[in-house]
């Protein structure tokens, strides 16, 4: 059977499963559909949260970024898991006790100000839209590969599918569908990793394989996988895999931005509003992280092993022998994946010096200049290797059985579609429910509310698609910007709302606005206004940047500004009223928490 047919079967079967469960669960009880997670065990809720959370950024993009940078991109691993500690300790139990459904409602009530609620909605829309742009990048890669068409065409088709999926309900709120998505996703991620880990190290657990010795390959004897990888990449002039090459300040701020942003993302926080009890909110965060960690502990192994496999495929005779020939790429079956991926426009090579071979090395490295001159190389000939293709191409690179490749295709699509649809739902409910119905036109009919939700969804997906055609970075990098924005705006307001009785309405609004505007302007100055390429004033590098801080790391600074401004302004203005102090007292104590109430 053709690989294409197998992929189709796997993707089709997985979607039939999600839809089947959705119909079955919906028929069970309608109220359960609205109060997602109520009466659901913390373990199940944790699994559903993990499915919601792990998107194209985690599944498709992250391991590729780690593979080509090594240690420096550990920030993604620590950042996107460490945020759950903040969530569990600083927010989840108290927001559950508060007992409403959305983040902006909490901010509106705690800061007794409709303006604060509107500003929170604005922050939510800005962060979520940026997030969707990153997701669309991943959707484009997945659909491009799956349908064997160009990335752009894949993105356009993907956008239509995401829109349809979100309008259908996104199958959000149906906890058991998300559980099924999680199971497909984690199998799709770990099964190929187990195969590859066995091939390279003989260890069935990839997380352990990363730190194991490679299977003996003749004369070299047993060496650690990471030692071998370091050797092979530095031989070709690339930066060593395990050493740090980024300055500590940027690495710390970047990690911190991702952590704070995780705890400030509305679609994650929302899941903790509806667990049955405050104590369950604490446990749920832990279970969510257990299921997330299964992927996150595997990701660094996937990255390192894929980098090793790719490099060895390009240099089948070792780095001192002859590289792979053009003829071999075109005919040998183990290079088939290169021909398939070439069709998406995300992978390409060119025999620049016409010697019939493809030299893959770092042509920017000084140490390689002499080698290149001596051998008549005229630059790196693996001219394009998009980081976002690595995870999807991984099973093909390792020549795994075709059912594994089909499974990965199903997992990648599930990850990209579910989170993109979930975010669209969050944006549309923020616009129709919080902004229009809550503030501007309170007398709106239910039908008009539904209509405005659809329109908001269509606008958001159109914006994300247009910007996704020329994304400001790889999927995970764009998503990282969204986290920076959430970190600078939402998280500080929530935390101060719980841990301080003194922060008042004016302070919170001033804090959120200054954090958001500072971060957004800084990102636009480096990534281009509205992410349009060429309109940036500073190059997006550490050395060229405005304060020596990369745009992906600026969210942490924005958060500090938010805290400082909110505190300063609150101190200079009127103290909070007594009933707000009482409200804060009550959210701090678990006793008396009823079920989450609608409004």
């Amino acid at each position: 059977m053709e690989q294409f047919t197998i992929n189709l079967l796997f993707v089709g079967a997985s979607f039939a499963l999600y839809i089947g469960i959705a119909i079955w669960a919906r028929a069970g009880s309608t109220s359960e559909f609205y109060a997602a997670g109520r009466g659901v065990h913390p373990v199940t809720n944790g699994m559903a949260t993990a499915a919601d959370w792990m998107s194209a950024a985690s599944f498709i993009s992250m391991a590729g970024l780690i593979a080509f940078t090594g240690y420096d991109n550990s920030s993604y691993l620590m950042g996107w898991t460490g945020g759950y500690v903040l969530l569990a300790l600083l927010l989840a139990p108290y927001l559950r006790k508060f007992g409403k459904f959305t983040v902006s409602e909490f901010i509106g009530d705690r800061f007794y100000s409709p303006t604060a609620r509107m500003v929170a909605v604005l922050c939510l829309i800005v962060a979520s839209t940026t997030y969707v742009i990153g997701q669309m990048t991943g959707v484009g890669v997945a659909f491009g590969r799956f349908l064997e068409i160009s990335n752009t065409a894949g993105l356009l088709i993907g956008a239509c599918v995401v829109f349809a999926y979100a309008v259908f309900g996104g199958m959000k709120g149906v906890t058991y569908t998300q559980v099924a998505q999680y199971v497909v996703l984690i199998m799709a991620y770990t099964i190929p990793a187990v195969f590859i880990s066995l091939q390279l190290t003989g260890t069935p657990i990839p997380a352990l394989g990363l730190f194991s010795e490679t299977v003996s390959t003749g004369a070299e004897g047993n060496v650690y996988l990471l030692t071998k990888l370091d050797q092979i990449v530095t031989d070709l002039g690339f930066a060593s895999y395990t050493e740090a090459h980024k300055d500590n300040l940027n690495m710390v701020l970047f990690t911190l931005s991702l952590m704070i942003g995780t705890a400030g993302l509305p679609h994650v926080i929302m899941r903790f509003f509806t667990v049955p009890k405050v104590s369950d909110a604490r446990w749920s965060a832990g279970w969510a992280l257990v299921f997330i960690a299964l992927l996150y502990l595997t990701a660094p192994a996937v990255g390192a092993m894929a980098r090793l496999n790719i490099t060895e495929l390009m240099w089948p005779n070792g780095t001192s022998g002859d590289p792979v020939s053009v003829q071999m790429i075109e005919t040998a079956p183990e290079y088939d994946w290169m021909l398939t991926w070439q069709k998406t426009g995300l992978l390409d090579w060119e025999d620049k010096n016409g010697d019939g071979m493809i030299q893959y090395y770092n042509d920017a490295s000084d140490t390689m200049a002499a080698t290149a001159a001596a051998n008549g190389w005229e630059g790196n000939e693996l001219t394009n290797f998009n980081r976002d293709i690595l995870v999807l191409a991984n099973p093909e690179i390792a020549s795994l059985p075709s059912w594994v490749i089909g499974l990965v295709a199903a997992g990648g699509l599930a990850a990209a579609l579910s989170t993109a649809a979930g975010l669209l739902l969050a944006i549309s409910s923020a616009v129709s429910h919080d902004l229009l119905k809550g503030q501007l036109t309170p007398n709106m009919s239910e039908k008009a509310e539904l209509m405005s939700a659809r329109v908001a969804m269509a606008v958001a997906i159109a914006v994300a698609t247009v910007l996704g055609l020329n994304p400001p970075g790889f999927a995970a990098q764009t998503v990282a910007l969204a986290f920076g924005l959430a970190a600078a705006s939402i998280f500080p307001a929530l935390m101060m709302g719980i841990f301080s009785k003194r922060i008042n309405n004016v302070g919170a609004v001033a804090g959120m606005l200054s954090g958001l505007i500072f971060t957004l302007v800084y990102i636009f100055l480096h990534k281009g206004w509205l992410f349009i390429a060429g309109t940036n004033s500073f190059p997006d590098t550490v050395d060229g940047s405005m304060f020596g801080i990369q745009s992906t790391a600026i969210g942490a600074v924005g958060a500090l500004i938010n805290f400082a401004v909110a505190y300063g302004v609150s101190m200079m203005t009127k103290d909070t009223p007594q009933e707000i102090k009482d409200l804060v007292e009550s959210v701090r104590i678990p006793a008396g928490a009823g079920g989450a109430v609608d409004h």
Binding site: S74, M78, T242, S279, G286, L289, A293
Partner: protein
């Protein structure tokens, strides 16, 4: 009078519960920062002597160790707080 005393006691307990909670949070966050920003990034050079699987301990903390500690922290906090809730009698029904 008795009513008054009970009110004062409840008030005091509420404050005691909250400060105990804040203490537990602070200790947990110190560990949270130590394993990630500390061992994973800033203190990595100090740990470079400890070898693990072809690299150093700091690399392991940055890519895996910190995640395992995060997990332990969240479960510890949930367990500890549920115990604290009962000690102060503020748990849910």
């Amino acid at each position: 009078m008795a009513e008054q005393a009970r009110y004062v006691k409840a008030e005091k307990d509420g404050a005691g519960y909250w400060s105990a909670n804040v203490r537990i949070i602070l200790v947990s966050l110190v560990i949270w920062a130590l394993v990630s920003f500390g061992f994973g990034i800033l203190l990595r050079p100090m740990l470079s002597g400890i070898e693990i699987g072809g690299t150093d301990l700091g690399f392991w903390f940055a890519q895996q160790g910190s995640i395992l500690v995060f997990l332990a922290l969240i479960f510890f906090y949930a367990w500890r707080m549920n115990k604290l809730d009962r000690e102060y009698g503020v748990e849910e029904d």
